[in-house]
């Protein structure tokens, strides 16, 4: 059978492979190469070695955005997963209206980042107006604004995944723990959490990468104001490319560093939580 399928390569694989080459492989390789070049368009690239990489860290906006992004990621991963898991626990107790609550909590996920950013800009600026401040008063306002926005958007998504995980726990397991006299907190710690570890792996992975790569919400809510103080990595890279003349090479080098960081986070996280999962 394999043989007869094999000659159909042009029909089955070629369209995807061609698009994949244009949309990913070529830009990726070109991107690596250009990070070692000085250029304004692709055609005038001149090889300059690792100079772009050395310039990255003398750029204080990059260092600031790296710190901002790292802190933002930690806070948002912890809060989103805490609230997502808690709500999932409460919504699996069979209370009245569970379906409606689930529908409402999930809804913000479908709204795009740009639209979300402007919705929250209106609300948060309205509240801050009472204190004569705005979101762009200082970097801290932008930081907490983004945390609230991301929680509002992502709690529902994680809740859905946690609910599926909790519902997969065999009922006998909880019953057996109860008969053995386990308190609810003990059941949570020794039965529920170990059993939903696969969901925790996925949710921390998704929140980690979503938060670290955040762009649209950042652009719409504060656009990095005031003076790049609320600027995250993705936006910093974008601004380096498109608002600073002659910095394209540095922008591409930043993008490579950004990619390496994302890859490192993804691989480490996967390895760490997978090792904690129970074999079923």
């Amino acid at each position: 059978m394999e043989k007869s399928i094999k000659k159909y390569f042009p029909i089955f694989v070629l369209p995807t492979l061609a698009a994949f080459t244009i949309g990913f492989i070529v830009p990726f390789i070109m991107g690596i190469y250009l990070s070692f070049c000085e250029f304004t368009t692709v055609q005038d690239a001149k090889f300059v070695g690792i100079r772009n990489y050395l310039n990255i860290f003398s750029d204080s906006t990059f260092v600031h955005s790296l710190g901002f992004t790292a802190l933002f990621t930690v806070v948002s991963v912890v809060t989103i997963n805490f609230f997502g898991f808690t709500i999932a626990m409460l919504l699996t107790k069979g209370i009245k209206g569970t379906n409606i609550f689930r529908t409402v909590f999930f809804m913000p996920n479908l709204i795009g980042g740009i639209v979300l950013g402007y919705i929250w800009q209106l609300l948060l600026n309205g509240i801050l107006l009472q204190f004569d401040r705005t979101l762009t008063y200082s970097g801290a306002y932008g930081f907490w604004g983004l945390i609230i926005l991301m929680n509002w958007q992502q709690i529902g998504y994680m809740m859905i995944i946690y609910i599926a995980g909790i519902q997969n726990i065999p009922g006998e397991l909880i019953e057996a723990a109860k008969i053995d006299g386990a308190k609810p907190s003990q059941i949570l710690r020794h039965v529920t959490i170990p059993m939903v570890m696969p969901s925790i792996t996925i949710c921390t992975f998704l929140t980690l990468t979503n938060s670290f790569k955040l762009f649209d919400q950042n652009l719409a809510l504060t656009a990095g104001e005031p003076s790049n103080k609320s600027e995250m990595l993705a936006l910093n890279i974008f601004n380096t490319f498109y608002t600073r003349n002659g910095w394209e090479g540095v922008g591409q080098a930043k993008a490579v560093v950004f990619f390496l960081l994302v890859a490192l986070i993804a691989i480490t996280q996967n390895w760490l939580t997978r090792s904690k999962e129970v074999q079923q």
Binding site: M1, P15, I22, T41, I95, I160, L219, F258
Partner: protein, 281 residues
Amino acid sequence: MSSVRKAKHGWILSIIFTLISLLYVYPVFLVLLNSFKKKVYISKRPFELPVGEKMFVGLENYIGGIEKTNFLAAFATSLFITVLSVLVIVVCTSMTAWYITRVKNVMTSGIYYLCLFSMIVPFQMVMFTLSKLADMLRLNTPWGLIIVYLGFGAGLAVFMFCGFVKSIPLEIEEAAMIDGCTPIQTYFSIVFPILKPTCITVAILQAMWIWNDYLLPYLTLDLKRFRTIPIAVQYLKGGFGSIDMGAMMATLVLAIIPIIVFYLVCQKYIIEGVVSGAVKG
């Protein structure tokens, strides 16, 4: 005794969650409220109801918003790109996934690992080069964008389809081939129908991404001719010195309505899609 306590708890929880739910929809409600307010009052008094002749402007903001953003054209562009890209992605990548799972050689496993690899590469990494390449190849139209989306979305989709194809028993396909089906007939009459649940999952995840995507179309499309909804919204801020808050509120409402309608109609599929997508991703 314990069941009585549980019921009492349930009521309290239901009430608490009702309050939280109201709080949850409040931001969207606030935008809706302000879309009927005279624009000078939106930033100054966002929490007041748009009542009285001074505040209430009827559909004025909507008319202004639709004109300024050319919203109907943006909506059509977004819909065209999303629907066609999702269709193309589902058909092409599922075919690819079947082929590279069934035919085992260095190249097919190379493609598989490249797809896996592409999933951890952030868009910023290829942002500049991809937009320049798309420009050179004249892919700066909605049609061209479909190719770009197929290319950039292929990684996740191929990976998810491969996971499912592995679980399909070979015997069914072999029987069809012995009966004289060509691989194409076998694929479309036997394999593709079996893949339907995964198709829905992939379609939902890709549609959520493409409909809301801002940066890729912003950098690739010829913005003088084509705009998607997120670009139109962002343009309101960039295009006119000070933001016309009235037009902004109206456009935000118009951008949210189709999503909520779609969500309420397809809720079951969306939630199932997210859950099974998460298990495989």
